[in-house]
């Protein structure tokens, strides 16, 4: 498979995963902001999710925040721009992905550009608007699953997805912890965190205690039955990467395999179940760096075509 194509498929998957995660957080946050009496701090999320080094955007309400994070064409990290990028990547490999997947991306692009979506999002009910976008995102995952051949393209697509997902989980956890420091009911914060990661129901079934930090953190980092956990995602990266064995140059394969294995082991055996907030924050930073190193190595060894 062409390196450029592998690269584009990988990034298409990352942008789509990012879109999905950000929309789920925003949906939860919007509901939280309607639920709470105190003012919801949208600025924190705008800075956290839409942060570019020179961003100076100030928001005071959910209208401005949702516009900036979802629909703003000027914001390099907005959902709209994510979808544009995902689609540009898809377009450059249109012959490689299936027609169904391409049409899905294309519909998504047209829906987020649609006037009605904007109207719904900013003037009427943002939840309906976000739900309609999330439906497109689910359709994308479905089309990939049902129509794409299980070749290299599918493998790189999944590696992209499972590299992006834990990065988003870590970001969201970090932002929630920052939010918590500013006050509010701790259990409520954890609840919304889990909602954002589609993991609340899972938590109530799996962990019998009332919501508490160490159990939530355990779920986000270590629970291999929770599809948004860091460990689960990394194991998926490992699982898909192993399929590349037959097509890889042996030395490249070994190098990557080592790096992925190391980050899994560090997580599995290096985490203190009783860790406090400070320790958890440090762990977030360390794990994030390790995942990024995996992505970087992959780009050098497999996508290096310049």
């Amino acid at each position: 498979m062409l390196s450029r194509v592998a690269d584009a498929v990988f990034w298409m998957a990352r942008y789509m995963e990012r879109t999905d995660n950000v929309l789920r957080v925003l949906r939860t946050n919007y509901i939280a902001s309607q639920d709470e009496i105190q003012n919801f701090d949208w600025q924190l999320w705008v800075d956290g999710l839409g942060a570019t080094p020179d961003s100076t955007v100030k928001v005071t309400n959910y209208h401005e925040a949702l516009f900036h994070l979802v629909l703003n064409k000027e914001n390099d990290t907005s959902v709209l721009i994510n979808i544009v990028r995902a689609r540009e990547n898809a377009r450059s490999v249109q012959d490689y992905i299936t027609k169904e997947v391409w049409q899905c991306m294309n519909d998504y692009y047209h829906i987020i550009q649609d006037k009605n979506t904007k109207k719904l999002m900013l003037e009427s009910d943002p939840v309906t608007a976000i739900d309609s976008l999330l439906r497109e995102s689910v359709l994308f995952y479905g089309s990939v699953d049902v129509t794409m051949s299980r070749g290299e393209g599918y493998t790189f697509l999944n590696i992209g997805k499972y590299i992006e997902r834990p990065l988003r989980s870590l970001d969201i956890l970090e932002l929630k912890m920052a939010e918590m420091e500013r006050g509010g009911n701790e259990a409520m914060h954890w609840k919304y965190l889990l909602y954002s990661l589609s993991g609340y129901e899972f938590h109530t079934k799996q962990y019998k205690n009332a919501l508490q930090m160490n159990e939530v953190v355990d779920q986000v980092f270590m629970n291999t039955q929770f599809p948004h956990s860091v460990l689960y995602s990394l194991q998926q990266v490992e699982r898909y990467f192993k399929r590349l064995d037959s097509i890889s140059l042996p030395e490249h394969f070994k190098e990557m395999e080592f790096l992925i294995g190391k980050s899994i082991s560090n997580l599995k055996y290096g985490m203190n179940p009783q860790a406090g907030a400070v320790e958890i924050k440090a762990l977030i930073i360390k794990t994030r760096a390790e995942i990024k190193a995996v992505a970087h190595k992959l780009a050098t060894l497999y996508f290096g075509y310049s």
Partner: protein, 481 residues
């Protein structure tokens, strides 16, 4: 809607051949189609029209206009009423195009080798060397199977008496075939059952025929040669076509940066290292193919690819240098070529053409400017031309000055009226002018033409310019069996 309702208000301009109407009657090839159509109301047709637009949009069959860094999607306008060609008309077209391609191909072989045609005084040498289409680097290069024009698009028009004329030959990188395929896909969605009922011949073999020809060009003793399609990239207006063809043929779609030349062999960069490429169907123009040989600023091509080609290690389709044969000022000599090389009479007519470097022609053209169209020899897409009947005095004067500066760059032809076909516009049928571009494939086994082609239509009332850049659209083209 009744049969009569359709025809009322359908006014064919005088001295125009209408593909459907013959002095108030419906031609036989359109009868079956119209019987089915008259069961629909105008509103139903409008909803079909709407469906077609939606399908094009959601399938991303669009071209992109870039402004402010953000792409604006436009669909290539599609008219739902098909253009229908009878079996006998097609036989005539097919044999005419085959004859023409055969002659042009021998001409290319000749012009880059012995140049008998010049030595025998059939074509002046000055014409060949002043046009810019002649590529010195191609001289004495032996191309596989002596085929230069693997894929050609021949533009045909129909004069008021119904006879077909060749308007121009496209022998470099003709585009539009994906619309031929997609328009057909659209027709069976909006008119279920009508294609088999009318016995319209299928066009879906095109990608298979093309792939078969491409595979046949490989120079390596290998059961599965590597074929790639080289595209300038996603910003190219024909990018959709490139992806469609690559997908339908199952070949890799590559950009210049995906290829590298080592030891006169071309490789593509894959996740598993370098892989040798045997055949390149390139949609990059000659000028941009190899910065070491042609335009040194090009980043679309591949350094050294031309050297690999000359060594015979890779086949490039179409061959570089075909511009010398489809130059508009060489066009009037094609009938002579057919006689000279094949000893046959041309089957398809050619539009009389005046080279503006001839002072007599110059005078004749400008004194009859109302009936003339002047074109630049090296431009296409409907750009840089002057339609005499539509221009005012000032425009004519300005254009005349342009021509005087470099008369070799211009030719003039009498305006051929172009046939009209019914189009569904604003809720009713209206006649609009069309041309036809069938696509001919020349492979080791001979020339094949899928029955059909791209019918381009000038959607503006009274317009004779069918190019998409000038407000043109397209239609599905049925060749009846």
């Amino acid at each position: 809607m009744s049969f009569r309702d359709f025809l009322s208000g359908y006014a064919v301009p005088p001295n125009v051949w209408d593909e459907m109407c013959d002095q108030g009657d419906i031609r036989s090839q359109y009868k079956l189609f119209f019987d089915s159509l008259s069961q629909d109301s105008s509103a139903e047709l409008a909803s079909k029209d709407d469906l077609a637009k939606k399908l094009f949009m959601s399938q991303g069959i669009t071209f992109t206009v870039y402004s402010d860094g953000e792409g604006i999607e436009k669909i290539f306008p599609f008219d739902i009423i098909p253009r229908i060609i009878t079996a006998s008309e097609w036989t005539h077209i097919e044999s005419g195009i085959k004859q023409r391609i055969k002659a042009l191909n021998i001409f290319l072989r000749d012009i880059y080798h012995d140049q008998f045609i010049i030595k025998d005084g059939v074509i002046p040498a000055s014409l060949i060397h002043s046009g810019g289409g002649f590529i010195r680097e191609m001289v004495n290069v032996d191309v596989p199977f002596n085929i230069y024009t693997h894929i050609s698009g021949i533009d045909l028009i129909r004069d008021s008496d119904g006879s077909f004329y060749v308007l121009e030959d496209n022998l470099r990188t003709p585009s539009g075939v994906s619309y031929m395929l997609e328009n057909r896909n659209m027709t069976y969605r909006i008119f279920p059952g009508l294609l088999p009922k009318n016995n319209a011949r299928s066009v879906k073999d095109y990608p298979d025929l093309l792939l078969k020809n491409l595979l046949g060009l490989s120079n390596r003793q290998k059961s599965e040669p590597t074929v790639v399609l080289l595209t300038p990239g996603i910003f190219n207006s024909a990018y959709f076509e490139h992806t469609t063809l690559a997908r339908l043929m199952g070949v890799d779609l590559v950009e210049g940066k995906d290829l590298v030349v080592d030891n006169a062999k071309v490789y593509m960069k894959t996740t598993a290292g370098l892989k040798q490429v045997d055949v390149i169907y390139r949609r990059v123009d000659d000028d941009f193919l190899d910065p070491l040989v042609f335009n040194p600023d090009s980043i679309l091509g591949v350094s050294g690819i031309y050297y690999a080609y000359r060594k015979g290690n890779v086949a490039i389709v179409n061959a570089p240098g075909n511009g010398v044969a489809d130059d508009k000022s060489v066009y009037p000599f094609v009938p002579q070529m057919i006689k000279y090389y094949l000893n046959e009479e041309p089957i398809l007519k050619t539009v009389p053409t005046y080279g503006m470097d001839n002072p007599d022609h110059f005078k004749h053209v400008f004194s009859n400017i109302q009936k003339m169209v002047i074109k630049k020899t090296n431009e296409s897409g409907g750009y840089g031309m002057l339609m005499g009947h539509a221009a005012d005095e000032k425009q004519v004067e300005e254009y005349k000055k342009e021509v005087e500066k470099n008369p070799r760059q211009f030719i003039a032809q009498p305006i051929i009226s172009l046939s009209s076909v019914p189009c569904f516009i604003n809720g009713k049928l209206q006649p609009r002018r069309v041309d036809l571009r069938p696509f001919a494939l020349y492979g080791p086994a001979g020339i094949e033409i899928v029955p059909g082609g791209l019918t381009r239509v000038a959607l503006r009332e009274g317009s004779l310019v069918v190019n998409s850049s000038q407000g043109g659209g397209s239609k599905d083209t049925w060749v009846l069996g």
